[in-house]
Symmetry: C2
Subunit: 154 residues, 2 copies
DNA sequence: GATGAATCGGACTCTTGTGTCCGATTAATT
DNA sequence: AATTAATCGGACACAAGAGTCCGATTCATC
């Protein structure tokens, strides 16, 4: 249903949002999100190009959010890497349908619209603030000693 | 978002449902749905295997619905050819998450659940019965002389 | 200025979805 | 029995998604 890339992008954005210090490297994000580093680089590029993320090259460089986490909806992330294509005209190209979709495509498009709405309604900030035993990307329940953002030795 | 195959399968099922006479051939369905005949054959095979469609080989053969149209939901068609994969366990394999999804994956899975629900609620029969100017697969507004199920010369 | 750490971009590989083609099989008709 | 109309299955071709690799570039630090 969703591409790997969308899943990866969401993880990366959550990772960036969960650590206030700017400039996480691909390596760091890769470790936290368990996304293959080389591919993660590509995904981050797309996010940079869509201006959801900023990057700095060279030593001390890395990636940061381009906006505060409460201003980035899941939808924006999804649209940045693999846009939800709404059905605007009849896929069969039937003239009689045109913009007035038939009942079949109307339903499919409505489902897509619901999806958009759902994703537009939650932001990175909201997700991180939500009280839950499971903290995104973190393999420790809330309140245990080792926080997920602590550097892990390799 | 949805694969071509899902779109094709839905069209084919609507086509079968819209014509009560059993045994439409790949050629006929292909013409009505504008799906490449050779590929449509593959898609129909999947629907046969999932027991939504029956087939008869040889002269006079073709495809028919295996169930009355009011007992076939869009969801069943979707699940037959490209199942919506719900998120049941943490995609990162984090033990602390397990079945208790984190807020991020919870939201994604909720969206998938909404999708399932939406598609489970409409049937082929309902779609065909819906009053609308646009009749599925048919390039003529309701009430015009040439019905979509009439045989087309080539 | 040299070194090292990092992103950036392009080229490549691998897998999967989409689509074609054809021979084998099945069944109705003549 | 021969012919014809149809599904069925496998092999192949092409394109796009997923993932790897490496050289070029940028920038901080020594």
């Amino acid at each position: 249903m969703f591409t790997q890339t969308v899943e990866y992008a969401l993880r990366a954005m959550i990772c960036l949002a969960s650590n206030p210090a700017p400039g996480q490297t691909v390596e760091q994000i890769s470790r936290a999100t368990q996304v293959p580093a080389a591919y993660l680089g590509k995904v981050l590029q797309q996010l940079v190009k869509q201006q959801l993320v900023t990057s700095r090259r060279g030593a001390g460089g890395g990636f940061s959010l381009a906006l505060p986490p409460d201003q980035i909806s899941l939808l924006r992330v999804v649209q940045a890497v693999d846009p939800i294509q709404r059905i605007t005209t009849c896929p069969l190209g039937l003239e009689a349908h045109g913009v007035r979709l038939c009942p079949l495509h109307k339903r499919v498009d409505n489902a897509l619209a619901d999806m958009e709405r759902a994703f537009s309604q939650s932001t990175l900030a909201e997700i991180l603030a939500e009280p839950s035993d499971s903290i995104p990307l973190c393999n420790f329940p809330r309140g245990t000693p080792a926080p997920c953002s602590s550097p892990q030795p390799r």
